[in-house]
């Protein structure tokens, strides 16, 4: 092609392009300005509101991690230290021993230790806990609700859209400031 006649076309395109670019930059700047008021310096992380949790078992199965980042945590100062812990034992345990048939945790992640008559302490082994909430339901139904689910931030990948949150029947997941990443129980009786 002859370059002569194309030159004006070229510059016309150039002009158009410059104009579009300018407006795009202005748009981006405008967007940044508009959103600046709504942005916050601190980022947020996902957490479970224990008051809304319905113990459905989704936390164990829906997390993108092979072993869920949701774990059962134990509020020791709410616990009654019961001998017959309904979080630890099957609903109608055979005996009150640590034998497999009496425990309800599918991965035996609750450790039961004798403190003194008649008190026992229960601790969660987070490497084994899968966040299935079976113990949480037992503890909430009969006991003080000292066992409850929380997202553990040393494991959570903080997905943009939490895969558990979108299927949570209790609508219990929400984003919380990274500076206060846990929603711990502060129950009164």
């Amino acid at each position: 092609m002859n370059p002569g006649p194309t030159t004006p076309a070229f510059s016309r395109r150039q002009f158009l392009r410059d104009g579009l670019r300018l407006s795009a930059v202005a748009g981006a700047a405008g967007l940044a300005g508009a959103m600046a008021g709504r942005t916050q310096a601190q980022t947020t992380v996902w957490q479970i509101d224990p008051a809304k949790c319905v113990r459905c078992g989704n936390c164990a199965t829906k997390c993108v991690l092979e072993q869920s980042a949701v774990k059962c945590v134990h509020a020791f100062d709410i616990c009654g230290y019961c001998q017959l812990c309904t979080g630890y034992f099957e609903p109608e345990p055979n005996e009150l021993t640590t034998a497999a048939e009496n425990q309800q945790c599918p991965t035996a992640a609750i450790k039961r230790t004798f403190v003194e008559d008649p008190y026992y302490e229960y601790e969660i082994d987070e490497n084994l806990c899968i966040g299935c909430a079976k113990c949480v339901e037992g503890c909430t139904r009969f006991g003080n609700g000292s066992l409850y689910l929380q997202i553990r931030h040393d494991r959570c990948l903080n997905c943009n859209e939490c895969a558990i949150a979108r299927t949570c029947p209790g609508d219990a997941f929400r984003r919380v400031p990274v500076t206060h990443p846990y929603l711990l129980k502060t129950d009164t009786h």
Binding site: Q67, A99, E101, A108
Partner: protein, 586 residues
């Protein structure tokens, strides 16, 4: 530059790629297997383990089962932990293998790379032009495909649920609440006026104190008078502090709710966009109109049916619970049969056709959801009589009249315990249940008193008595444990003995009567079409106790509730709460 195909670099790269590929397949296969078998091998899902726990529950002392559970539990937990470990390491192994595979493949490709030697293409211009044309076509086709998918997806979803949309949200919520809220007890039904001709549908009010006299012109005894915005021949019903009635024209059908204390129109609800209803309502004769059937309520919702075949349930706050279209009834004058309720169900008698059966049927709908619970075909043509629900012979029966049958249906499932033949012609009066007898009328034949405890065809066996002269043609009979009263549309008032059927007396009212008579506060209320209500004593001789002018034409039957009478004239609704002498004092 290009290495020979069998150079050692190439061979090494290819064999490395093979090894890496096989390695990847093996690792991926192992991981896949672990995942797929997780179902039966995870400690919480293993059917084996669950079964054993079940067994232990049955025999809690069996040490063997316990041992087996402990064994399996340990095994499955170990397997689970191994699976977790394998997933972690397997992931990294896959990653490493992939890197090696890609590097090997890239190396192999590099060694075999042939430097291209492109030549000038004289057809470039044509090719470019052709390519663009093909691309245009392809993009056009792709765009069309996108459009088809979108339209198809939209088409499969033409009918979003009626409840739950913007307008119906409240209604559905109300329905949900109602589903939980128990129905009011029977005593509540007796204290209100829940359907055509009151509780039980036999025109007898439980109220002890009922106004005796009023005057529409002077306003004496009239608590309030309210214009009814929409026309209809149906009678008002009352529950608590609410009066319900319906009205309708070809353009719109409306349910209205008035305040019992003040007469203020609390709300009205247009019944529209009923699924299945024709866009243009059918034409109905003015003689009957669009809203001749009287509504019914179960204390939670009010139900209305229109001559168009639209059946609607409206919550007490005016929101629509549900509505459905039963098909336009083929009725010479227009459908006029009122609704009945029983235990939260709506009973719809839908007789149609001119002579001989034509899809006549009786149905029961669930009041909460509108779901049809049962339906029975009726071999009768159109009728204008309303069904009543009675408790007799230990059963709850629905009594429905038609030509030529009196039929009883079991309220629960629509089974037919008995029927009796009563041929004649067009049936308008409704049955009544008086002194243990079902009173059934065929205007062109007779008034039958039937014992409701028969089975099968009881025409020959269960007729207690029969009256053939001056049979009422429009209004329904009314009575107490002793006497039965009927009135013809030209004003012939008859009194029978309920036990024997013997005529006790007859009186000419000398006025036209369209509204069914009622007994309230121990008195007989006879409302003439001219608006004059004659109050007579329920006695073995005729005695006029009062004669009250309203000054407006009346065809609807009155409602009596807690010392008040609700009357619907052609244009206004009246609440009569006049001087109320103690019963017994004339």
């Amino acid at each position: 530059m290009a290495t020979a195909p069998d150079s050692p670099v190439y061979r090494t790269a290819v064999s490395t790629a093979w090894v890496a590929g096989v390695f990847l397949v093996v690792v991926a296969g192992a991981m896949l297997y672990q995942r797929l078998t997780a179902n039966s091998n995870d400690p919480w899902k293993s059917p084996q383990l669950l079964e054993l726990k079940e067994q232990l529950r049955a025999s809690p002392k069996d040490e063997k089962i316990k041992e087996r559970i402990r064994e399996l539990d340990l095994k499955f937990r170990q397997r689970y932990v191994r699976r977790l470990a394998l997933t972690r390491t397997g992931g990294w192994l896959l990653l490493g293998g992939s890197v090696i595979l890609v590097v090997a493949l890239a190396t192999a490709m590099e060694t075999r790379k042939v430097q291209p030697l492109p030549r000038p293409d004289p057809t470039a211009g044509d090719r470019a032009q052709r390519d663009r044309a093909v691309a245009r076509r392809a993009v056009g086709v792709a765009g069309a495909a996108v459009a088809v998918v979108m339209v198809g997806a939209a088409a499969t979803l033409r009918s979003p649920p009626t409840v739950g949309d913007r307008g119906g949200a409240g209604a559905a919520a109300e329905a949900a609440k109602a589903a939980v809220a128990p129905l009011p007890p029977a005593s509540e039904f007796a204290a209100n006026w829940p359907q055509f001709r009151g509780p039980g549908g036999s025109g007898v009010a439980t109220a002890a104190e009922v106004p005796l006299s009023w005057n529409g012109a002077s306003g004496a005894g009239v608590a309030w008078k309210t214009p009814v915005p929409e026309p209809g021949f149906n009678s008002p019903i009352v529950w608590g502090d609410r009066i319900f009635c319906s009205g309708g024209t070809r353009e719109k059908r409306v349910v209205m709710c008035f305040d019992l204390a003040t007469g203020r129109l609390r709300w009205d609800r247009v019944i529209e966009k009923v699924p299945g209803a024709p866009a243009q309502a059918p034409e109905i004769s003015d003689q009957t109109g669009y809203a001749a059937p009287t509504m019914a309520t179960d204390g939670v919702r009010a139900y209305a049916i229109f001559a168009t075949g639209e059946l609607a349930a409206v919550n007490f706050d005016g929101s629509l619970a549900w509505a459905k279209h039963l098909g336009v009834p083929k009725n010479l004058y227009g459908h006029a049969t009122s609704l009945a309720v029983w235990q939260g169900r709506v009973i719809v008698q839908l007789d149609q056709g001119e002579s001989g059966p034509a899809n006549s049927r009786i149905m029961a709908f669930d009041g909460v959801s509108g779901k049809q619970l049962w339906e029975k075909a009726r071999s009768v043509p159109g009728s204008w009589s309303s069904p009543i629900v009675i408790e007799a012979a230990g059963k709850t029966q629905i009594i429905a009249l038609g030509d030529p049958l009196v039929t009883a249906y079991a309220a629960g499932d629509g089974a037919e315990p008995w029927r009796a033949e009563l041929p004649g012609g067009e049936v308008t009066p409704s049955p009544a249940f008086v002194g243990g007898l079902v009173l059934a009328v065929n205007p062109h034949n007779a008034l039958l008193a039937l014992k409701p405890d028969g089975a099968g065809d009881v025409t020959a066996s269960h007729v207690a008595w029969k009256a053939e002269d001056d049979v009422p043609d429009v209004t329904s009979p009314v009575g107490n444990d002793e006497l039965v009263f009927t009135v013809t549309s030209d004003g012939k008032l008859l009194c029978f003995d309920v036990k024997t059927g013997a005529r006790v007396w007859m009186h000419e009212l000398k006025q036209e009567v369209q509204a069914s008579p009622a007994i309230a506060g121990g008195r007989l209320y006879l409302i003439g079409s001219n608006g004059v209500t004659i109050v007579a004593a329920v006695a073995r001789e005729f005695k006029e106790l009062a004669r009250n002018e309203l000054g407006e034409k009346i065809v609807a039957s009155p409602a009596f509730v807690r010392g008040k009478i609700i009357l619907r004239g052609l244009e206004n609704l009246y609440c009569l709460a006049g001087e109320t002498p103690k019963p017994g004092t004339p």
